[in-house]
Amino acid sequence: MKAKNLEESGQPRADYDVAVVGGGLVGAATAWGLSREGCRVALLDEGDRAVRASRGNFALVWVQSKGLGLAAYAGWTVRSSEAWSGFAAALKDETGLDVCFQRPGGFHLALSERELEARANTLRRLHNQPGIVDYKTEILDHGQVAKMLPGIGREVIGASYCPLDGHVNSLRLFRALHAAIHARGVRYLPSHRVESIEREGGEFRLATTQGEVRAGRVALAAGNANMRLAPMVGLAAPMKPERGQIVVTERLRPFLHYPVVTLRQTDEGTVMIGDSKEESVDPAGLTLGVSATEAERAVRQFPLLANVNVVRTWSAIRVMTQDGFPIYDESETHPGAFVLCCHSGVTLAANHALTVAPMIARGALDKTVLSPFSARRFDVQAAG
């Protein structure tokens, strides 16, 4: 379906049909989806020094554990997981780049009976919610896990396993999306930090550090910075950024054929170890004790990592809404303004490209799909 451009509706023609604000994974996936719908798109980004989760993430396409407290989030995540292989194939068709999406299923390992029981309880509570999609997560004992992950240590009591979990090369995904939108004629505008947004005469005027950009619609996909931008168009994006740290080993021969929530072997052979959470938002900092704990647990999970060399560590800021669930909203006071916020820019990339972007191209979010993710839920909680 082609988006109706503004000229046909008799209004003045803006520079672009849609200005997407934020050039990370969420913004780039949205811009790609919009361009597939025939929209003229500008993608406004900060410069190289932007605090960019898309370059620091762990690259899981992850289902298990998602949705405790909001059943619709589980369904939304499964939908993206199911759409991911087609999404990856389309990107490869357009760019020749293989983002190495694999969905062998994934593990969450427990190092004590207490951890395994906590895990089983969480999954039970998740599955007992009304309207929950069944994503077939099982609790396995040591022997069952060892058959699939031969390298596990004796301390691994058991695990949860979900067949829908997978992973991807997320840096290549980032590159492929940018290559694809470039080839499709999306105008990428780096170093265009948005300072203010006004709606005037049926179009949006975005004041940036390098002049004004005009567009018929605006989609805010700027991660934690949506907190600053959303109120400019009558929307809310309550965020709670948190820092995560990752430890990376030298390249090893393939030994781990399934991603674990805290540890995965990439298509290139390195092992990434991560999943820490700190409330600090200093993007340049690194807490050595956190890296040490991550490495220590990794060695208990996979003892063969004990003498492997670490080649890199880094920290990055997670995009996180205040309740951890995504926000998709459209403005009532500024029709044509949309906001997209989520933690899982990798997992949900297929949904942003194939489901949300076509809604924005049509001019309205489909409430039957996205109403659970409106930021109005925060007002209800505040009132309660």
Binding site: G151, E250, R251, L252, R253, F255, E268, G269, V271, F302, P303, L304, L305, N307, V308, N309
Partner: protein
């Protein structure tokens, strides 16, 4: 390819094994120097393109001289002095976890 400048002036007192072959070296040699002196023209192949690599910078910077020493992979041959009885293996591609 390489020849010691003072060939014969010092005893080749260290005996070690490279890929199962007995090689002699001088006390104070690094593993990399001993391999070059023994005429070994590459110590590994790269993990990505399988291109052959030999010791290059000889000062711990380039990581081209990676070998397996006494069962531990990806060691920098230019930073490890030879020892009697040492077992060296040239590497093919990525290191194996646990070795």
């Amino acid at each position: 390819m390489f020849r010691r400048l003072d060939e014969g002036a010092h005893a080749m007192a260290v005996e070690m094994e490279i890929d199962g072959k007995v090689v002699r070296a001088r006390v104070g040699d690094t593993v990399a120097a001993a391999m070059l002196a023994a005429g070994i023209d590459h110590c590994r192949t790269t993990p990505v393109s399988a291109a052959p690599r030999a010791p290059y910078c000889l000062m711990g910077v380039c990581f081209d001289c990676l070998v397996t020493i006494d069962g531990i992979g990806n060691r920098q041959a230019c930073l490890v002095p030879v020892r009697d009885g040492m077992r060296i293996e040239t590497q093919r591609g990525k290191r194996e976890a646990g070795r």
